[in-house]
């Protein structure tokens, strides 16, 4: 019979607060390690030179000024959707419906361009687009919020399902407004009159989006950290009962925050239709509503850090496209590298929050001789 007690090979303990530079050293180490692993995978699986692959990834984002602008535009759009979901997330309300809310906004904007385009002057059409798309996004988030506040329905499932409704609705209108007939494709709206197209600032057609999102980012940071609403959101997120106890109207905060969340999503849809794409397709938002969850979470719901995390994700996906083109690899290979890098980055958070104690060599005999 063996009833000796053994101490485990290692055990995990929660760390007390880590100094910021140690935390960043761990994160930096994780990225380096990820790059090494990706390098090994690249050279073993494809036979390409890993350094050349990294160079291509970098060039995918910074290879030319156009690529840099596209990078900034993509960051802006991903950041916009991420900013949108953040207030709800801080409240521990999992709004997974950003995709649908942005599509609802996009649908409203496109509807204004198509239906009001021939009737109203350009300025009035743009004004209608702004109001209706922000409203549409807010309504799309408001419906699940109302049900949650009133009957405590599960917002995760509800918002998720609202995505499908929005996608189908957009598909329907793509057929209603299709050109040519039967193709299910709207094409560029008002290509000749350019009614409802947002103006480009200083000749850069993406600058407007970037500035608007930068503004939203700062506003969101201030709102969440320095306003009474932001404080209420934080309290509700920590504990609904505490919030009730201190006299916060939890239902009101839930609805208000989700409306804000949806409104910013609507804004993202508006920018996608009015400023860049000038069209409407069911895939217009391109999954940003889901990527946004990761962006927001990786940045610990901090709007300023989210600039960095959305940069990281867009940088990796642009790089994935570039290596697919340069090396004739399937773009899934780029996705594999992105997956490896994200795995290490998310994994590094574990080592920041916990430390691992290994069994000391002397300890073994000590315990086994009890």
């Amino acid at each position: 019979m063996n009833n000796k007690q053994r101490s485990p090979l290692f055990h995990i303990a929660k760390r007390s607060a880590l100094r910021w530079y140690s935390a960043w050293a761990i994160r930096g180490g994780a990225v380096l390690l990820a790059l090494v692993v990706c390098g090994v995978i690249t050279s073993q699986v494809t036979g390409e030179d890993p350094i050349a692959v990294y160079k291509a990834i970098f060039e995918g984002s910074f290879g030319s000024s156009r690529k840099a602008w596209v990078l900034l535009q993509n960051i802006a759009m991903l950041l916009c959707v991420s900013l949108a979901v953040t207030p709800a997330f801080r409240m521990r309300c999992w709004n997974l419906g950003a995709e649908g809310q942005a599509l609802a906004g996009a649908l409203a904007a496109a509807a204004c361009m198509i239906l009001l385009g021939p009737k109203l002057p350009n300025g009035a059409v743009i004004l209608c687009m702004i109001v209706t798309s922000i409203l549409a996004g807010a309504i799309w988030a408001g419906i699940p919020a109302f049900f949650k506040a009133k009957w405590n329905t599960n917002e995760t499932l509800f918002t998720l399902m609202m995505n499908y409704v929005a996608t189908q609705l957009v598909s329907y209108y793509c057929v209603v407004w299709e050109s040519p007939k039967g193709s299910g494709n709207i094409g560029i709206i008002n290509p000749n009159t350019q009614i409802g197209w947002f103006p480009s600032i200083a000749g850069q057609k993406y600058l407007l989006n970037i500035l608007v999102v930068a503004l939203v980012c700062v506003a969101m940071y201030v709102y969440l950290n320095y306003s009474k609403h932001g404080y209420e959101i934080a309290v509700v997120g920590e504990s609904e009962r505490t919030a009730r106890y201190v006299g916060i109207k939890v239902e009101r905060v839930i609805i208000r925050t989700m409306l804000l969340s949806g409104a910013v999503c609507g804004l993202a849809g508006l920018l996608l239709v009015g400023s860049t794409n000038h069209t409407l397709t069911p895939t217009l938002v391109e999954g940003r509503g889901f990527t946004a969850v990761m962006v927001s979470w990786l940045a610990k719901f901090n709007p300023i850090w989210m600039i960095l995390t959305s940069f990281l994700l867009v940088f990796l996906s642009r790089g994935a496209g570039e290596i697919a083109t340069n090396f004739g690899l399937n773009s899934s290979f780029g996705d594999i590298l992105t997956g490896v890098i994200l795995f290490f980055i998310i994994g590094s958070e574990f080592f920041i929050n916990y430390e691992i104690h290994f069994r000391k060599s002397g300890e073994k005999e000590e315990t086994s001789n009890v």
């Binding site: 407007l208 503004l215 895939t283 399937n330």
Partner: protein, 423 residues
């Protein structure tokens, strides 16, 4: 709440002010002209010198990657045409995959221009508007778009469309199907009245309608009792919907399936149910050895050679280029002798020769009726100005002149004998 409203109002003001700054200037476009510039001449690549090829850099924009049979077919042709000229992928020709039908297409095209491409191809219908946008911005680069409709009337000199008379290929596929139906009738597996074909289509759009109608006419030319049911998925690529479409048709009593959508959804269902099918874009013999009959496909190599070759020679490109059976752009590939009826190969050769020499026309108006009447006149929307105005008489000399006035199909007539089961 006040802050949100203040924020929104501020935004509204910013955009509104910016909007006021620029009054929408109506674009001064000249009255468009519609020259008849659709040709189908092949290009002899052996006339190209290495110097001429060295000047050329080609860019490709694809909607999906290799998982889509349509994109795979195009991608294979791209690699074949370019490497055939001694070009190296990643240096002399660049391929961008998974480019959505939106602003990304314009960005991708612009990036290819930055990378030094003189000729850029895009393969998906929805890319067209963005290709035209890029063509207007970079007049020194040639932009070629497959399956689009607007080059004929857009008035942009460096923008071109291409398609192929794939309806002829589908007609031949229909002949293979009709022979199979006859065999099934002769074997007593079905009665003549049960010879019902099912067709999984993408969109109720001319390209698809032209395709299934020609397939049906081909089948009926050898099996007179054949009828057809069509269902649409409203997507070019959706394996689940295509599979469900096939299930629906098989449950409705269809004994043979064909399709015009870009996944393996329908074929895998046919293989598991033992229903023979005619495929599109490429062979499925390896995956479905027991039910795959034959596939029609567009061989884009001829088209790519024409465009790249003429640019290398410094020649002007036409608005439209149409591939056909004669120039090798339309093919019937990989006939599965194990499944097809006896004598199919010989019959296909016979009909193909008749199509090439013009003695048989696919849309011969004596072979079909519309609402019980023979079609004697049809105005098609050949000049695509976004207004859906029928503008060109396309029925004459006893047949419907498909893909003659421009490359993209415009046959969108619902003929008798074909039932669309979901509208």
């Amino acid at each position: 709440m006040k802050k949100i409203i203040a924020l929104l109002l501020a935004l509204v003001m910013v955009v509104a002010l910016a909007a006021c700054g620029k009054t929408a200037e109506p674009q001064a476009t000249a009255e468009p002209t519609f020259p008849f510039d659709n040709d189908s001449t092949p290009f002899d690549t052996s006339t190209l010198t290495t110097d001429e090829v060295a000047k050329i850099k080609v860019g490709f924009i694809f909607l999906h990657d290799e998982t889509s049979t349509y994109d795979l077919n195009f991608m294979t042709a791209a690699r074949e045409a370019c490497t055939g000229l001694g070009m190296v992928e990643g240096e002399d020709f660049l391929i961008k995959t998974n480019i959505p039908e939106g602003q990304e297409c314009y960005d991708a095209a612009a990036e290819l221009v930055d990378a030094g491409c003189n000729i850029i191809f895009a393969d998906s219908f929805g890319h067209e508007s963005y290709m035209i946008q890029a063509a207007k911005e970079f007049p020194e680069v040639q932009f070629c778009h497959a399956t689009g409709t607007q080059a004929h009337s857009a008035g942009v000199a460096n923008y071109h469309n291409a398609f192929a008379t794939i309806f002829e290929g589908r007609y031949l596929g229909g002949v293979v199907a009709g022979m199979k139906l006859n065999e099934m009738i002769a074997n007593g597996e079905i009665s003549a009245e049960e010879a019902k074909i099912g067709y999984v289509g993408a969109y109720p759009y001319a390209e698809v309608k032209s395709g299934y109608t020609s397939f049906f006419l081909g089948a009926r030319s050898v099996c007179p009792s054949a009828t057809m049911e069509v269902t649409f998925t409203n997507s070019w690529y959706d394996p689940t919907l295509e599979k469900e479409g096939a299930i629906k048709l098989i449950n409705n009593g269809c004994v043979l399936i064909s399709e015009h959508a870009d996944s393996m959804g329908a074929p895998t269902e046919c293989e598991s149910k033992g229903i023979p099918f005619v495929f599109y874009n490429g062979s499925a013999k390896a995956d479905c050895p027991n039910t795959y009959l034959v596939a029609s496909r567009i061989n884009w190599v001829a088209f790519l050679q024409v465009m790249i070759g003429r640019v290398a020679k410094g020649e002007v490109l036409n608005g439209d280029w149409t591939g056909n059976l004669a120039n090798g752009a339309v093919e019937l590939v990989d006939l599965n002798e194990a499944v097809a009826a006896e004598g199919t190969a010989a019959k296909v050769e016979e009909v193909k020769a008749a199509l090439v020499n013009g003695s048989v026309k696919v849309f011969d108006t004596s072979t079909f009726t519309v609402g019980g009447e023979t079609l004697t006149s049809y105005l098609a929307d050949v000049n695509d100005l976004g207004t859906f105005t029928p503008d060109t008489e396309v029925v004459s000399d006893g047949y419907f002149h498909e893909s003659e006035y421009r490359s993209a199909p415009y046959f969108d007539v619902d003929i008798d004998g074909i039932t669309i089961i979901d509208k």
